[in-house]
Amino acid sequence: MVEELRGSFASGKTRSYEWRASQLKGIIKLADEHEQEIVQALRSDLSKPEMEAYVQEIGMLKNSCTVTLKELKHWMTPEKVKTSLITYPSSAEIVSEPLGVVLVISAWNYPFLLSLDPVIGAIAAGNAVVLKPSEISPATSSLLAKLVGEYLDSSAIRVVEGAVAETSALLEQKWDKICYTGNGKVARIVMAAAAKHLTPLLLELGGKCPVVVDSDTNLQVTSRRIIAGKWGCNNGQACISPDYILTTKDFAPKLVDSLKQELETCYGKNQLESKDLSRIVNSNHYTRLIKLLDDEKVAGKIVHGGEKKETELRIAPTILLDVPRDSLIMSEEIFGPLLPIITVDKVEDSFEIINSGTKPLAAYLFTNNKKLKKQFVMSISAGGVVVNDTTLHLAVHTLPFGGVGESGMGAYHGKFSFDAFCHKKAVVYRGFFGDAAIRYPPYTRGKLRLLKAIMGGGIFGIIRALFGWS
């Protein structure tokens, strides 16, 4: 199959603006005409509320496509750059060319968005693409296979379904780029496989995204935004979901009360059964999350929620207060509706705690304090940082979305998607004139003086050298 796609790519058909635009329009059409089926598939895979399915997956994807279509011609134009005296006379430009055949491995939590968003970038850059959706979201996976086959050019864009075996087989092939969204463990396997062929990577991973809440903040808005970012995003199963909170010992009880209040406003009294919350994706993850709650180190720390229903794979929004830093829940990315709160004496102490861990995909701060904001932005290293909100930076297509360190490498969204799947080829045009004899042997002292002068820049140095004065 890869051979076939290479053939299609080699034929040059994916390089034309017309082809790329037609495929992108196909994606918008696919999303428009099958909106209900997509929502249904997401409900089947994750019990995802329709609002989330629409806003966070379909809406975002269509937006991404629209922005790309609007700017594509501009992005495809070579970028002229200045040249310096050293290469005079010359002109130069940077040409964006497609890499060839790329592999996109997507995740189960936003199975529609995280499959097609990178594919949009790959297509925009003129590549042929193979998409491998996650088998943990099977309804969406097969819907994608069907729709991509119907709406897009199958000589250049394919969906391969399957699990570990199929993914491993795909990883043995030679790709011109691999985009992987998922966890650090599998990412290492992907990178090791890519190393064999020297394939460049875009890795969108995760991490424990911290939220620092200062006492000097608008408490109600803070709570609502934390809720929107945590439980409002696939019930906490999102790479940029707030993972845990850091706040002062004094402020914590107020924060907990506010969260409880706002949770009730959003999800009612019976939060376990709320239709506006996704369920846990499968029993493996359910068991994993229950274990975090059963950890004796957090016994008695639950201040809200904790209800669960195994038959429906549901866990209610749960808040834990004052968890020890060496508890299970603080040792790995939670990826679920459990929100631990760590208390500190001074809010500044939280910075050290965050920096002692691996760099997360996102870090959040709620405060009115200018100085604290500045300090946070400067000293916390994360893929992205948001002050006074959560997760929104994902929706700003002019910001690069990606991680650093354990949370990933590379970035995409907007033009960054286009750039991620291009090779930026440097092109230098020289004339046959303007040949400086100083470049050629035999090397004489005079030539050397002039060479030094030209490289050191400065017109006077050059004049002096020409006249033999230096």
């Binding site: 269509k62 290492r188 999800y267 002019t398 690069p400 354990e406």
Partner: protein, 490 residues
């Protein structure tokens, strides 16, 4: 070389120093860059001596390709540092209202730089410039195949740079392997494709991002040029790009030339004549050509022409002096394409010329081989220019010259496919060692009430309009004057 636990301790100290924030200050970075300038200017004599010792490089070559380009890069970095370090504002969609978005570059932490033996000063310090400008701490491991330069860097740099942040560790493959076991925030490697794979595999264990500057067989397409001036300039540039650049031991050297059968004899004649002018009757005496770095590479090159079919294709040169590790400029015409000289990167002063019926065949020829680091095309035909650009892929393309792209600050220098991952030089050096952190600041006002559950049809409609930036539509929906196609809310 230190024992593993000593190395770990040293690296930990460097990480602690990084965390102290000392390397993030613009003043620190400027000071280090100025230190590098001082190192180059005050030790020029010793640097030239070391390069002569390791590679027999002529002063002019060494200045042009290494010292001079470094000085240029340092001046560019010092000039650009403020601009590089400042946040870049990002445009916000209207819906965001009362937010600011920007991208702030921040250093990655602890960088490992592996450099190569052919431009031992240049390829060590050029990445160092980027890493330091970006505010990182760095460990540099120069190649042990250029020992004079390696020890010069290890012993002298320390007086010019902050030793808590920049360390030079000498050694060979064993040392390299030990270093690869540690955890780095980025690894920068210049060298062969083979070792590049090893570096990337090791990096995979810690998910360390890498920049690999590898090589390949960089072709020169020499079109039939009607003006003698053009032909002469082209051939001069080809010859200097090959024999005048570390005797062809460079990643961007011209590996082989493609010409039309018709032009072959003229080209060969002109090459012979110009080689004579540039290097004299006895090239070895000219001191204008570097020697082969060591016996192992010498024998490798000798091996390439030992094949009788290849030997028979030599039309000029061919003399090899094993004691002095010198090979004179050698031209071959149409050696068999399956021979090693045409399948492996040559990295030496042997220049095969491959003849084609028509020059347009170069496209297929190049495309059927791994993507090289550079493609050079000498032509006046705009059609050929366009075709090469759109039909072939390479790190870079240079028209009517060779090697010069290395000295440019405004274009990226890097490979694609087997010729490498990532890029640097100029602004790209700073970016190569930075993390571009997205920062979004919101105010507590302008919260869209329909952002929060409980969900209903009304909120869904509002979101649909907001997402399409249809503000009028949004207003109408809020006022109850417009309804979008109803969906089924469960």
């Amino acid at each position: 070389m230190e024992s593993p636990s000593d190395l770990e301790k040293d690296l930990e100290c460097m990480r602690v120093y990084f965390r102290s924030g000392a390397t993030r200050e613009a003043s620190w970075r400027k000071q280090q860059l100025k230190g590098l300038l001082a190192f180059l200017k005050e030790n020029e004599g010793d640097i030239m001596k070391a390069l002569k010792q390791d590679l027999g490089k002529h002063y002019a070559e060494a200045y042009r390709d290494e010292v001079g380009t470094l000085i240029k890069s340092l001046n560019f970095a010092l000039q650009s540092l403020k601009r590089w370090m400042s946040p870049k504002k990002a445009e916000l969609p209207l819906m965001a209202l009362l937010s600011t978005a920007e991208v702030i570059p921040e250093p990655l932490g602890l960088i490992l730089v592996f450099s190569s033996w052919n431009f031992p000063i240049g390829l060590s310090l050029e990445p160092l410039i980027g890493a330091i400008a970006a505010g990182n701490t760095v460990v540099l491991k120069p190649s042990d195949l250029s020992p004079a330069c390696s020890s010069l860097l290890a012993n002298t740099l320390r007086s010019y740079l902050d030793n808590r942040a920049v360390k030079v560790i000498q050694g060979g493959a064993a040392v390299g392997e030990k270093l690869l076991q540690e955890r780095w925030d980025k690894i920068f490697f210049t060298g062969s494709t083979q070792v590049g794979r090893i570096v990337m595999s090791a990096a995979a264990k810690h998910l360390t991002p890498v920049i690999l500057e590898l090589g390949g067989k960089c072709p020169a397409v020499l079109d039939s040029l009607s003006w003698n001036w053009d032909r002469e300039a082209s051939i001069k540039r080809i010859l200097v790009g090959k024999f005048g650049t570390c005797a062809g031991q460079a990643c961007i050297t011209i590996d082989y030339v493609l010409v039309e059968k018709e032009s072959l004899s003229t080209v060969v004649e002109m090459m012979k004549e110009i080689i004579g002018k540039m290097f004299g009757e006895n090239p070895r005496e000219s001191n204008s050509i570097a020697r082969i770095v060591n016996k192992s590479h010498f024998l490798r090159l000798k091996n390439l022409v030992d094949d009788p079919a290849v030997k028979a294709s030599i039309v000029h040169g061919g003399k090899m002096d094993e004691d002095n590790l010198f090979i004179e400029p050698t031209i071959l015409v149409d050696p068999p394409l399956e021979s090693e000289i045409m399948t492996e990167e040559i990295f030496g002063p042997l220049l095969p010329i491959i003849t084609l019926e028509k020059i347009e065949e170069s496209m297929e020829f190049i495309k059927s081989r791994p993507k090289p680091l550079a493609i050079y095309v000498f032509t006046r035909s705009k059609t050929l220019e366009r075709r090469i650009l759109s039909e072939t892929s390479s790190g870079s393309v240079t028209f009517n010259d060779a090697i010069v792209q290395y000295a440019a600050d405004t274009i990226p220098f890097g490979g694609v496919g087997k010729s490498g991952i990532g890029r640097y030089h100029g602004n790209y050096s700073f970016e190569a060692f930075s993390h571009e952190k997205a920062v979004l600041r919101r105010s507590f006002f302008t919260d869209f009430w329909f952002r929060y559950p409980p969900w209903n049809d009304h909120k869904l409609q509002l979101f649909k309009t907001a997402y399409n930036f249809d503000y009028l539509g949004m207003l109408l929906v809020i006022l109850g004057l417009k309804r979008i196609k109803a969906s089924h809310m469960v």
